[in-house]
Symmetry: C3
Subunit: 341 residues, 3 copies
Amino acid sequence: MRFKFSILALLLEVIVIVLYGIFVDYDIDIPVTLLYPHFQDVHVMIFVGFGFLMTFLKKYGFSSVGFNMLIAAFGLQWGILMQGFWHMEEGKIHVSIESMINADFSTATALISFGALLGKTSPIQMLILTLLEITMFACNEHLVTEIFEATDVGASMTIHAFGAYFGLAAAFVLYRPGLTNKHENDESTYHSDMFAMIGTLFLWLFWPSFNSAIAHGSEAQARAIINTYYSLAACTIVTFALSSLVDKRGKFSMVLIQNATLAGGVAVGTCADLAIHPFSAMFIGVVAGVVSVLGFQFLTPVMASKLRIQDTCGVHNLHGLPGILGGIAGIIAAAVKRDLR
Amino acid sequence: MRFKFSILALLLEVIVIVLYGIFVDYDIDIPVTLLYPHFQDVHVMIFVGFGFLMTFLKKYGFSSVGFNMLIAAFGLQWGILMQGFWHMEEGKIHVSIESMINADFSTATALISFGALLGKTSPIQMLILTLLEITMFACNEHLVTEIFEATDVGASMTIHAFGAYFGLAAAFVLYRPGLTNKHENDESTYHSDMFAMIGTLFLWLFWPSFNSAIAHGSEAQARAIINTYYSLAACTIVTFALSSLVDKRGKFSMVLIQNATLAGGVAVGTCADLAIHPFSAMFIGVVAGVVSVLGFQFLTPVMASKLRIQDTCGVHNLHGLPGILGGIAGIIAAAVKRDLR
Amino acid sequence: MRFKFSILALLLEVIVIVLYGIFVDYDIDIPVTLLYPHFQDVHVMIFVGFGFLMTFLKKYGFSSVGFNMLIAAFGLQWGILMQGFWHMEEGKIHVSIESMINADFSTATALISFGALLGKTSPIQMLILTLLEITMFACNEHLVTEIFEATDVGASMTIHAFGAYFGLAAAFVLYRPGLTNKHENDESTYHSDMFAMIGTLFLWLFWPSFNSAIAHGSEAQARAIINTYYSLAACTIVTFALSSLVDKRGKFSMVLIQNATLAGGVAVGTCADLAIHPFSAMFIGVVAGVVSVLGFQFLTPVMASKLRIQDTCGVHNLHGLPGILGGIAGIIAAAVKRDLR
């Protein structure tokens, strides 16, 4: 185990550097200052947001922040290659701030899957899974955006639903009955819940940057920011309301506040750049909050006991269901828009 | 209790969505990229800064971060409506990055008041208080900036002093003698003090963005950034010096470092965009640090015992007194400027 | 002790304000919006990044975050004066966002030195050390960039190596045999390691801003961002691989993940803005990771036992050796560039 991981990691890094030597160079067409703040917001989401969100389980604090950093650092190098191979110019992949944002996006799929697998996988398995998932993601993304010409600016389907169901499939394969008894590892403590709130808040705050980073034109970008901002705000109010409602003593549940408040950002993703008006964005956020809270409360226990899918962080409720909801919202928004012409 | 909060929150969200459906739409005149980094800095202050600053009490960690998120998520939706009603065009409120910054500002008043009330109020009370306070804030702000045509770029008076005294008034009304005996809840622990430093630092770092976000023109914006930066730096040195001086063993007090270091940002707010020169900004910071440390050390205990006002987080010393000081500094700066003509 | 620190701090602040009154005024030539996001990234690194990185020792959590804030708040005021005296126009030092970035840079040297001295110095010693070190740094920086006309955009040598060896020299002078027995203070705990990861991640994420902030032109800035991003990513993979390799049970070491993952940012600093191609940046990151891990594992214990230099946070391995490596990489890059002409 000790040597296997080290050799695999070093080998992968050597392969990546050789491929970069052959294929990758700077792209300096786009002025750096415009997209750089957006990039940094997304970058903080990937490393601080996802990293700390998963720290709520008291036994997996180091695993979540540490492995998150390992997966993300490898994923962003691999993502540029996999996405770049579809867009080569004269045999070269050109790296710009925009392609760095896209590489961070590709990394998000692996981190979402990791959320379902936390506590079940070794670092070796996670490195291989990251490599496979990002490769598949890049092919799927190419298919959706280039061949089908579908619009998915905030990537509800291509990142969130994809990452969630990839992770759930892996969780099903890696299912071991002994895990269900490890109740003590699945608990949170006061301080682990506080650390997780750091992750939640940075994801919540910068989600408008995530959904608007690759929008075309400043008008679409502004709409994506505003729609995501309102979807998240409405989703948060509904999450607090339902969290108190489903608890027997009327108390707020930290796991719901940490996770379901973010579902509005996922669900509004696909149609974030369209002129759906703020109130529709809020409505999408409300539905996402309802779906996510009900998922955590009723679906996750059933999936673990009946379907043998143990979803450690509940990514199905945060990324899976809201991602599908986002796809449906996108179809409706596109249909309504066509009708209005 | 359990159903009351849920029903109230859902009802408020429905009302907000209906009002947004009728009145709110996108404003896309201003290019998004210019103010967006400023907006995100202010956004981080509201959710991470205020949220974690209040975590220093060991028993109220979840309350402070969680309720802070609830209040802010509702406040930013309500703020747009209350501020927007004074500036409607053809019956519509137009949402832009700038109005989102203003909505975050309006939310700050409620969060400051919450700092005085932490541990005394239920979520229902806080939602109603937020609704009332933001409504009053929007009217007061309109009165000050539109009718009196007063300048208050960093809102020392309209946000900080307003929020502090609103909260203190509510704390007076909600006073119960039993609270004074709950000493064990008013203590901090090692880790709760570390979490609070996350809040302090993000407030400290992004305060220049807060004070410059709505300054007119890039020259005034640059001055507001520079003045706030120096006022905070000078205030911090004085806070450390006095913190050691007022302690019997010469030790630094975490509560002073967490709070009084920020008073410089409040006090320089009103005149931040004026050409007062960096050394005056530093002088304002020094006075703010002195006032704030003395307030925490001598005034807060007296207010709790004699006036029956329990100021849980000491917002009077961080926002109240420095806010008034900011108003006085603004008057002096305006007077001197007139003399120099 | 109690009065000494307070009097020294207040006296220094008075001197600074008087000097600012005489010499410092606004510079408003450069539009604020362009560099301001870069400035805020660097600002977060100085206060949150350095502050929390040093919290991993359970007994020094408050010292590290608190003293870090004190040193930085004084250093940024002093840095403007020391750096500005070399560039006065008509007897005035003009403060702009760019000079504020440079002042934050000068502060970094003192914070790096503080990492070697944590637990050994009093606040009075640290204030005096900060004053002396920043003064020396400004002279050295002037010598290197103006007289020698050397290029060091990310300041591998002038900040990182300078700060590390200054701190190690002070650690040697302040060596007391009793310190080596205080093993219990040199331990980390679960939560202190989590707090330190906050520092690590914000340093890691914003290092591209650090290395590109003062690059000339948007093309050089884009290259500095991209090179730093890849150097850090490659360094991180190597650090994880070697961390598992050097541990007897194959486990990851938190101290290595917290520190050695950042060595890539230091080492690529000097040549970050040059067109060295992404694969060379990754190679520099790999070498930096190897050097830093070996330093922590083998050199630091030897330095403490044989050379009587106790490097509390291991700044020699994070800033010293990678800084020298950055200088060597810069010489090679400059030589190769000349050959290619």
